[in-house]
């Protein structure tokens, strides 16, 4: 082989036709997610290398630091103007850094931090064999009721893996609302869903119920993911791209260069309608909208209560964020197609959640149906298709998530011999026995019911106002009717707590560590602050209410 040939080989090999640019990643702007992911990986290493006794403290420390640092990063980005003037699409078009992203990431991080406190609570369950234990199974792999489980309990094992799992879930949730292409969206969906499936199975008490819940959640979640993935495929077929911006261009008919290989399918409206309906369905599954809500009560009831609280709050925030971005960035051009359908979904979600909740007898299931009704209320704001709609949804989510975590944290306190006493009849007369706990729970219930001076009222008012301004007045009327129905069962619990005779062998209220107290106090504080002086936060949400395209 001659030197010339070698040379020509060199030159041919260096031919720039198939050159791939090194991806340009704005690490600084992605830092919130990266910090959380990094900490989760550190958590895995801790599990591998630290002695069992030290793991709990190390995990809690790492998690708290990571969440605080990530929140600080979000605040820093927002202060730099990435929420408004400098909003742009980072990471080669995969991630949007804009107002809604940062607002929702901040909300998720704070909710995650408060949720973490309830995860780390180790004073509620009586110590097993001298070891302080949390709400999670001693050893997830041991069969419920088996000897190996007893041995694990006796040895004082705890599943400290929940902390890295929580961080992975949070990382996925951070990406989910800021995902700017369909693949990132899907990856984020799975990243936060899989840890949640696991977490659901880890209850210390009533383990069979917990595992059943996890299996159901996993099966149905996988089912929904399949729909979503199918929708993504169809949309790719329609637009020839998974990028939000590109799809939006095709929807608007402003696309310039068409790949000849895709010319046949491109612009086929059937693909667009099918694909977007299926993706939206996947997101509606995550927010728990009727008729994709059926997992919610079973999973909320079976999962360990701290997980339920976190999941109910943060999943809803992330999923609504993704839904908003999809509908406002990708599909605004076809809003006359999706609005009527979403109307119908919102109506049956509001009414269905509220009506079925009336006859519930388990407090966790009651709150699950309540969360379904709330998903309906938030959908009303989504349907407004206006800037006010976005900001009102952001505000609602912020207020709602803290109320939810706080309410579930209170549920963890009311216990009897079998663990948490979740049957409503056991809550009778709680106000006589523990007036403070009952009063705090009453505040949360009033916030759920949307009584003035709570965040629930301000949020509901903002959402309904935006919906009415957006031409969805009938939706508002139905929303108010559903609120009235919902108020019945919230107030019924208050009546039960304060105006019924306590039962002789009723539950006791455990005295928690400062961790749960902080979680509950944060819930009350946010509820009252957003209720009494909502204007600052409404303004903040309003500033953050513009999507980057």
């Amino acid at each position: 082989m001659s030197a010339a040939a070698v040379h020509s080989l060199w030159t041919t090999a260096a031919d720039p036709i198939s050159k791939i640019d090194a991806p340009k990643i704005e690490y600084g702007q992605l830092s919130p997610t990266l910090i959380v992911v990094g900490a989760a990986l550190v958590g895995v290493l801790i599990e591998a290398f630290l002695p069992r006794k030290a793991r709990y403290y190390a995990q809690v420390f790492v998690s708290v630091v990571a969440l605080c640092a990530a929140f600080a990063a979000v605040v820093g980005l927002a202060a730099d103007g990435y929420g408004t003037t400098k909003a742009h699409i980072a990471a080669m078009g995969a991630i949007a850094v804009d107002g809604p992203s940062l607002f929702l990431q901040g909300t998720i991080l704070l909710a995650g931090l408060v949720g973490l406190f309830t995860f780390a609570e180790r004073r509620l369950d009586p110590a097993a064999h001298g070891n302080r234990v949390d709400s999670f199974a001693a050893q997830a792999a041991s069969v419920p009721g088996s000897d190996s489980e007893k041995a694990a309990v006796k040895a004082g094992f705890t599943t400290t893996e929940v902390f890295p799992l929580l961080l992975f879930a949070i990382a996925g949730m951070l990406v989910f609302p800021s995902a700017n292409d369909l693949l990132t969206l899907f990856v984020a969906l799975e990243v936060f869903s899989l840890p949640l499936y696991l977490l659901c199975a880890l209850a210390r008490r009533k383990r069979l119920m917990s595992q059943e819940a996890a299996v159901k959640y996993f099966l149905l979640g996988a089912f929904a993911s399949a729909f979503t993935l199918f929708g993504i495929a169809l949309l790719y077929g329609y637009a020839g791209s998974v990028s939000y911006a590109r799809i939006a261009q095709v929807v608007d008919g402003t696309v310039t260069n068409v790949d000849p290989a895709l010319a046949n399918t491109m612009g086929n409206d059937a693909l667009l309608l099918l694909g977007s309906a299926l993706i939206v369905m996947g997101l509606l599954f995550k927010v728990g909208a009727v008729p994709f809500h059926m997992w919610t009560p079973d999973v909320y009831q079976g999962a360990p209560t701290p997980v339920t609280g976190f999941m109910a709050a943060a999943t809803k925030v992330a999923a609504f964020g993704a839904l908003l971005r999809l509908l406002y960035v990708v599909l605004p051009g076809m809003r006359w197609d999706w609005r009527p359908v979403m109307w119908a979904v919102a109506i049956i979600t509001m009414l269905g959640g509220a009506i079925v909740a009336i006859t519930q007898t388990d407090i966790k299931r009651l709150l699950a149906y309540s969360s379904i009704a709330h998903a309906g209320f938030i959908l009303a704001g989504v349907i407004a298709t206006s800037k006010d709609g976005v900001s009102s949804v952001l505000f609602y989510l912020a207020g709602y998530s803290f109320v939810t975590i706080g309410a579930f944290a209170v549920v963890t306190l009311v216990r009897d011999a079998g663990g948490e006493a979740t049957h409503l009849s056991k809550w009778a007369g709680l106000g006589r026995r523990s007036p403070l706990v009952a009063a705090v729970f009453a505040v949360f219930l009033l916030a759920f019911a949307g009584i003035p001076l709570t965040s629930g009222f301000a949020g509901k008012f903002a959402v309904f106002k935006a919906a009415a301004a957006g031409g969805a007045a009938p939706l508002v009327v139905i929303g108010v009717i559903s609120s009235a129905i919902a108020a019945f069962f919230y107030i019924r619990v208050i009546v039960l707590m304060f105006f019924s005779e306590p039962r002789p062998e009723g539950p006791t209220v455990a005295v928690p560590s400062p961790l749960t107290m902080v979680a509950i106090a944060a819930g009350v504080a946010v509820t009252l602050v957003l209720g009494v002086a909502p204007q600052y936060f409404l303004d903040l949400a309003s500033q953050a209410g513009v999507f980057v395209r």
């Binding site: 299996v215 159901k216 309906a277 299926l278 369905m281 008729p291 009527p340 359908v341």
Partner: protein
């Protein structure tokens, strides 16, 4: 100088706050604090009066703007005070008589454990009453109006351990609410008509509004007057209000608060001048009440209730005069002031008598007291002469003017009103002579007849109490009580003459209220002569009935009219049958509708949702496969609906 106006109110308000908040540590000095602050207010009033006198008649209106109360676009309510000749007159009356009564109360309430609280309430009353007469807009006036209502309620029920006092307070409160509704509606009407409720815009533009509007406003103001001033048909509370301590009856339920209605009408003169129908209604109410109160006063054996009937009747005179328009405004106020003196004096006298008679109020158990309480006798007697209109004393001048003005209205109205006023004068002479004779003359019926103390419940070991109170020992009251009585007696004697000679009062008040002569079909001296004749007839009949014959210690059965008058001319029976029964029927039917119709709908809806809920709940069967089917169906519907939307 106008900056002093707020201090007029601030002094008693401070007193009320200090006394009511201060608690028991002020028990020892509380009454003197209250009295002192009342006098401070009086002195400020005198200083302002001297200042006003030094100015020309057209510059005698001072205003003080304190702050903007409700500054909303198109709805401006300010806390502004107006001191003109009319409010000045009231300020002097309120603070002057009020201070004297504070002083009197120091003695009268000496043995009451809650004396500090009593003075706190009295000061609160003064502050509210001053706010009422000094306000420069109707809304602020309304605050004072409600304030005096509150103070009146608290003071009528001051002896709340007596169920009768508690009931009387509640009754006064409720009846007054009816009148207060009238005032609030009047204010709303003013706002919709004139876009303001300040005196300036309302009164200067009164002529521009339609007569219908003005009549409506006038009638609502009249309703307010009826409530506060105990005029027919809202008169029923005043008699029962005598359950309060006697100084309260003197100050609030004789001299000042009950005249607030007269102030309201005179202040709103411009509205009434342009609404003749409302004016006619005012005169009718005044004339009816004049006779009503007088007749009730004739039949009462309770000295305070007799005086209460008299108060009602005298305010009837004032309202009648105020209804006559510019002919009568000045004389309404003049009679108001002179009445303030002599009626306060009479009540204080009655209180002094009760003080000496173990709180006995039944005049049939008095008699011959003139020898035992000479000062009370003389001051009460002067008040008596003043109220019946004895020539030269206060009532002679002021009442005579009102009767003249009534005739001067002209036409049939004038004859009727004048005739009623004359008849009223005769009845006044009768019932006041009756009170005088039964109390101070005749045989001493209290001897050998132990009086029962109203404080002592009958179930208590009565013998012990009766041993203590076996026989009253009438005695003169202490100086702190007699001095105010003497001062008021002097005012009763000289006030009318001082005001009338040279028309001083007329010239003083005319710039505010306006004045016109009217066209009297009868001469002034004829009226005076007729009044004298009526007076002599009234006194004569009373003498024949109560002076010549001994007064029976137990009331005789009496004629039908007497019996009706003893029951306040059946006012409470009327209210019971018409209002209470009617109200009960109405509420019962409303409750029925609520139970069957409203609750039916509500409960039905709730049951419906509950049933729906239990049915829907069954869908949630716990099987993941059913859930998946639901999702699949939902997704299919979603897709189908989306496609359908496009197809449509």
């Amino acid at each position: 100088m106008e900056n002093l106006i707020a201090l007029l109110i601030a002094a008693p308000l401070l007193g009320a706050a200090v006394l009511l908040v201060g608690g028991r540590r002020l028990d020892a000095v509380g009454h003197w604090i209250g009295t002192l602050l009342s006098f401070v207010s009086f002195v400020i009033g005198v200083v302002l009066f001297a200042d006003l006198l030094g100015k020309g008649a057209e510059h005698r209106t001072l205003t003080q703007h304190l702050f903007s109360w409700v500054p909303v676009a198109g709805f401006q309510a300010d806390v502004t005070f107006r001191l003109d000749q009319l409010s000045m007159t009231f300020v002097l009356l309120i603070t002057g008589v009020g201070s004297l009564i504070h002083l009197y109360s120091v003695g009268y309430m000496e043995h009451d454990e809650r004396r500090r609280r009593f003075f706190g309430y009295l000061n609160l009353f003064l502050a509210a009453m001053l706010l009422l007469v000094l306000a420069d807009n109707y809304l602020l006036l309304y605050v004072g109006w409600e304030g005096v209502g509150l103070a009146s309620y608290l003071l009528i029920g001051f002896w709340q351990h007596k169920p009768s006092a508690a009931t009387a307070a509640k009754k006064a409160f409720l009846v007054n609410r009816v009148g207060d509704m009238g005032l609030s509606i009047a204010i709303m009407l003013m706002f919709t008509t004139f876009g303001s409720f300040a005196f300036g815009p309302v009164l200067s533009h009164a002529g521009d509004a339609s007569e219908g509007r003005l009549t409506a406003i006038g009638l609502m103001l009249l309703l307010a007057t009826c409530g506060k001033s105990a005029q027919v048909p809202l008169q029923s509370w005043l008699g029962d209000a005598m359950e309060g301590p006697t100084p309260v009856s003197a100050l609030i339920h004789a001299a000042t608060m009950v005249t607030a209605g007269v102030y309201l009408i005179v202040r709103s003169g411009a509205v009434f001048n342009a609404a003749p129908d409302a004016q006619l209604a005012v005169t009718v109410v005044g004339a009816v009440t004049l006779l009503f109160g007088a007749i009730v006063g004739c039949a009462k054996d309770d000295i305070k209730k007799a005086l209460a009937g008299s108060t009602m009747s005298q305010i009837g005179y004032m309202v009648l005069a105020a209804g006559l328009g510019p002919i009568g405004y000045v004389f309404a106020i003049m009679h108001l002031v002179t009445h303030g003196f002599f009626k306060a004096g009479l009540f204080l006298g009655a209180g002094s008598v009760m003080h000496g008679m173990n709180d006995e109020v039944d005049m049939r158990k008095y008699g011959g007291l003139r020898r035992y309480m000479p000062v009370t006798f003389v001051t009460f007697g002067l008040g008596y002469l003043a109220i019946i209109g004895f020539p030269g004393l206060s009532g002679f001048f002021s009442k005579d003017k009102i009767i003249e003005a009534a005739f001067a209205k002209g036409g049939t109205d004038g004859w009727i009103l004048g005739g009623v006023a004359l008849l009223g004068a005769a009845i006044t002479a009768f019932y006041m002579t009756r009170v005088m004779l039964m109390t101070f003359f005749g045989e001493e019926r209290w001897k050998n007849q132990p009086t029962r103390s109203p404080e002592a419940p009958s179930a208590e070991p009565a013998a012990e109490h009766q041993g203590e109170h076996a026989e009253p020992h009438p005695h003169e009251s202490p100086k702190v009580m007699t001095i105010p009585m003497i001062v008021l007696a002097v005012g009763s004697v000289l006030g009318g003459g001082f005001f009338s000679i040279g028309d001083r009062f007329l010239h003083w008040l005319e710039p505010v209220t306006g004045y016109s002569e009217g066209h009297s079909p009868v001469g002034a001296w004829t009226v005076t002569g007729a009044t004298m004749v009526c007076l002599i007839i009234g006194v004569g009949i009373a003498w024949a009935q109560y002076g010549r014959k001994p007064v029976p210690a137990v009331a005789p059965r009496g004629s039908l009219l007497t019996r009706a008058a003893r029951r306040d001319l059946l006012q409470d029976d009327f209210n019971h049958v018409v209002l209470v029964r009617g109200g009960e029927h109405l509420t019962r039917s409303l409750v029925y509708v609520d139970h069957t119709l409203v609750d039916g709908v509500v409960n039905g809806t709730a049951a419906g949702f509950g049933g729906l809920s239990s049915r829907l709940r069954r869908v949630q069967n716990g099987f993941a496969r059913s859930y998946a089917v639901s999702m699949f169906g939902g997704a299919a519907l979603l897709v189908a609906a989306t496609l359908l939307m496009r197809a449509v």
